[in-house]
């Protein structure tokens, strides 16, 4: 992330009235079509979806509206179709598999895992919380919940947690997809609004991206957290609904009564759905980078392991053990390093920040020569190249750089840097046996960077049994059921206007 590049983007967009692409390629897998989900919650109710819209993005959405989401029966009844459909799709996606061997491990990996797209990161965590709620439901209150709710909960929870993996595409927040591929005038904070992002990229003709996104901020409502104006309407409708059903949860009674709420939310989802369709269609125009499929098949492995664990009834802990956390941290850091390297190595546009920050050089190969050097008392042959960079280069001698063409292979070592006209001549030595494919030709314009896409030697998992240092002195006492305190009485909405200081901006 080069601030100079960011500054230039801002300036050009400001001057040219036109958002700019950050990339020449698409670095994230996009299924055709992905399953899309949009959620609206009741304000402040983190586990209560007042409306869930879902369906393949190339078609219309299905809508689940419980009416009173804080009533367990109504809530579960409404979520059931969504849960059932989600579970079915997950299971279907897990059917076709290819056998893959890594070391001694043989895995049957799903070939096309189910991709879910959502409008924003907020929805990712909303689904995570919904999953957390459903995944651990017990028969508290006498009635055992429909098993598909529990299974769907575990799927959602997996998807939300996997969304931490850099470069993953199983659960794709579209605001990040757009922000990663487009430069706009929006600050990171403002980029959380998908409508604003979209408006900056495709403003109405004759409108400056800034004005377009400012207007979008006023009008557009994305969710999952409702703004006051929305919930004022919801509040009124919900009051009528509850009064009319007089604590009945009988579908025959409730269904018709929920109609006004349903259309209320349908009107809210409609534009969001179109927005998601437009965004995905736009990004699909870009060719996918070579490493996209590799990353998505890694997603497939995670997806496969999840399904094989959960379908037979496997449970997940609500929190990580020290071991799980340690493993996760390492996996995430590896994924991040590889994702960043792959992006920049495959996409020249993504290499620019590294060039600007002095982590990469680009220039014309002036000479290629082979010499002998002594490594550990043995004379071995090495290649030495001179690269003429049009820009002055400041690189310490001895620094290791990888040629983007062989970024997974051996690095080059900076031997010397001399001024050369307005730029510099950099002399580098290959740290391995020179072979044809390892050597550029004189006259080539090449890029070398600190980024290596090679896989570091695999590491072993830490012991299952934690060492005494990572175990508490006294075992923690047994907690109450995981869903203790679940299912509270519905709470009347309170008129925000009567509250002196209703808080921050929405």
């Amino acid at each position: 992330m080069s601030t100079a590049m960011e500054a230039l983007f801002a300036a050009r967009i400001y001057a040219e009235g036109q958002a700019l692409r950050r990339t020449t390629l698409r670095h994230v897998h996009l299924a055709d079509p992905p399953l899309a989900i949009a959620v609206w919650r009741l304000g402040g109710e983190r586990f209560r979806a007042a409306a869930i819209a879902w369906g393949p993005l190339d078609g219309p959405f299905q809508l689940a509206v419980p009416g009173e989401p804080r009533n367990r029966d109504l809530y579960f009844a409404a979520l059931q179709p969504f849960a059932a459909d989600l579970c079915a799709r997950v299971r279907r996606a897990a059917v076709s598999r290819e056998v893959r061997q890594r070391g001694s491990v043989i895995e049957a990996v799903p070939t096309d895992a189910l991709q879910i797209v959502v409008p924003n990161r907020a929805t990712v965590s909303a689904l995570g919380l919904l999953g957390r709620y459903l995944a651990y439901l017990s028969d508290r209150g006498g009635v055992a919940p429909d098993p598909v709710l529990v299974e769907a909960g575990r799927h959602l929870r997996f998807y939300a947690r996997n969304a931490r993996v850099p470069g993953q595409a199983l659960l794709l927040p579209l605001d990040r997809l757009v922000a990663d591929h487009w430069a706009t005038l929006l600050s990171p904070f403002e980029q959380a609004n998908l409508a604003a992002l979209d408006a900056q990229i495709e403003p109405e003709p004759g409108r400056h991206p800034f004005d377009a996104s400012a207007a979008a901020e006023v009008s557009a409502r994305i969710g999952p957290e409702p703004t006051e104006d929305i919930d004022r309407v919801t509040g009124a409708l919900l009051a009528e609904f509850n009064a009319a059903r007089s604590s009945s949860t009988d579908p025959a009674v409730v269904e018709p009564l929920a109609q006004p709420l349903r259309s209320h939310y349908r009107d809210l989802v409609e534009p969001v759905w179109q927005l998601m369709q437009r965004v995905v269609a736009r990004e699909r125009q870009l060719t996918a980078a070579p490493s996209v499929s590799r990353r998505f098949s890694a997603d497939g492995e995670a997806f496969g392991r999840h399904v094989d664990w959960v379908i037979p009834g496997g449970y997940y802990r609500t929190t990580d053990t020290p071991r799980q956390a340690a493993i996760t941290l390492r996996r995430l850091e590896d994924a991040l390093a590889h994702y960043e390297a792959d992006r920049a190595v495959e996409d020249p546009a993504c290499m620019i920040p590294y060039l600007l920050d002095g982590d990469a050089i680009r220039g014309t190969v002036a000479s290629v020569a082979e010499t002998k050097v002594v490594v550990k008392v043995r004379a071995v042959s090495r290649a030495v190249i001179a690269v003429d960079s049009p820009d002055p280069v400041t690189l310490p001698g001895g620094k290791l750089l990888w040629w983007t063409a062989t970024a997974a292979d051996q690095p080059w070592q900076v031997e010397s840097v001399q001024p050369n006209g307005t730029g510099s001549r950099v002399v580098l030595m290959l740290t391995a046996k020179p072979t044809a494919e390892r050597l550029p030709a004189v006259g080539n314009v090449i890029t070398l960077s600190t980024l290596c896409t090679g896989r570091s030697g695999f590491w072993l998992l830490p012991p299952v049994e934690p060492p005494w240092t990572h175990r508490p002195d006294v075992a923690l006492l047994e907690g109450e059921p995981i869903d203790a305190g679940d299912s509270e009485q519905p709470v009347a909405a309170v008129d925000g206007a009567t509250v002196p200081d209703p808080g921050r901006y929405t």
Partner: protein, 393 residues
């Protein structure tokens, strides 16, 4: 300049001039927190000092920001409080007993939330009960006391403000512990929003600090105000309350600085240029353009500091300021971290020019070089596909 330092008719009229008929609002813990996020902005400072309600000043203009909370969110908060209080504070007693290791089953609980009028008079009475009860800590009460809805009176920039702490547990091991209730859940030991937690802890820290001052005013050693506060939140997916204890010593120091940074109302009023008033801006009878122009003049006169994240979440002027920045092509529009790459460069348009190789002045030179390079590289090696199809509007 001594006249600035003593509240006097001059100051008062100056204050009236600055306020005009603009809606005002008393300082409270939320306002204070919001101000903290924008305290370096001169305009925001004057508005806060004069207690002008920045959320309402631009009402009915296109720059009025959506403000306020879902009634359900508020309802949840109310319900959670009710749950803690029902049946004579049964839940609150339980949670405190479990969490603080002191038996609150028979604790005296001063319910300062009911009976008292929701006005200055009511607040003042509650503040009196609060301070007198707090002072009893000096005698070391044999039994714990809980102030439910304690009110602390504090001078904020020369004006009195009332601050309502959810709970104050007195006499827990000779200490006073501040408690704050939040209706957002802590799920599996983790808050769903770290920033909300931070804000809650800052709130509690504010009460600790004001509690200390209240004690000192009565000549009681304020060391008994514990550095660690309690947070009561719903646990996991339901409403069942759980208590968390957290040390906020460093946050208390921050709040101390914050209170020190609040500008004095009289000084500010007297020292603001005569031309500065929020009256015109807030005048809903005037056409929008007139009001926004007035806003522009005021902020130009006073100066503005814009940082997207903090301003957009904390100040009702943010959209209007952002608009001005856009008009000026001010690099701060996209955030301070990027603006830092542009020392000595006046505007975004100039940045673009330098990118295209316009000759840089000595002041611009250091920043200009990487810009030009970035521009060249982008055009040269990133054969970036441009947006072609336009939305059919």
């Amino acid at each position: 300049m001594t006249s600035l330092h003593q509240p006097q008719p001059g100051g008062a009229t100056a204050l009236d001039r600055v306020r005009g008929r603009a809606p005002t609002i008393q300082a409270n813990v939320r306002r204070l927190a919001a101000f903290a996020n924008v305290h370096s902005c001169p305009t925001a400072a004057v508005a806060f000092a004069a207690r002008v309600d920045t959320n309402k000043v631009l009402a009915d203009t296109s720059m009025e920001m959506p403000y306020g909370q879902s009634p359900f969110a508020i309802g949840r908060g109310v319900a959670f409080e009710a749950l803690l209080r029902r049946h004579g504070h049964a839940e609150l007693r339980r949670v405190l007993t479990d969490g603080l290791g002191t038996d609150f089953s028979y604790a005296a609980i001063e319910n300062l939330r009911e009976g008292f009028q929701p006005n200055r008079a009511g607040l003042t009475m509650r503040a009196r009960v609060t301070s007198s009860r707090m002072a009893e800590i000096a005698e070391g009460p044999q039994e714990p006391v809980v102030l439910d809805g304690a009110v602390l009176r504090a001078d904020i920039g020369g004006l009195p403000g009332f601050f309502e702490a959810d709970e104050m547990a007195i006499g827990v091991g000779g200490q006073i512990i501040v408690g704050e209730n939040k209706s957002w859940p802590v799920v599996d030991g983790r808050p769903t929003d770290e920033d909300a937690l931070g804000a809650a802890l800052d709130q509690a820290a504010t009460y600790v600090l004001m509690g200390r001052r209240t004690l000192e005013q009565q000549g009681v050693d304020s060391a008994c105000m514990s550095d660690s506060v309690v947070l009561v939140t719903p646990r996991n997916t339901g409403l069942a309350p759980a208590l968390h204890r957290q040390d906020v010593a460093s946050r208390i120091r921050r709040i101390e600085r914050l209170l020190g940074a609040v500008p004095d109302v009289q000084e500010t009023a007297a020292s603001t240029p005569p031309s500065v008033t929020f009256d015109t801006i807030a005048d809903t009878t005037l056409p929008e353009t007139v009001r926004l122009d007035a806003f522009g003049q005021v902020t130009d006169e006073l100066g503005r500091v814009y940082e997207p994240a903090s301003c957009l979440t904390s100040c009702g002027f943010a959209w209007a300021c952002r608009q001005r920045l856009f008009a000026d092509g001010d690099p701060a529009l996209v955030g301070g971290s990027i603006a830092r790459a542009l020392p000595g460069i006046a505007s975004l348009s100039r940045v673009a020019e330098l990118g295209q190789g316009a000759p840089a002045s000595p002041a611009e030179a250091p920043a200009a070089v990487p810009l030009a390079r970035a521009n060249r590289l982008y055009d040269e090696i990133a054969a970036v596909p441009r947006m072609t199809q336009r939305r059919t509007a």
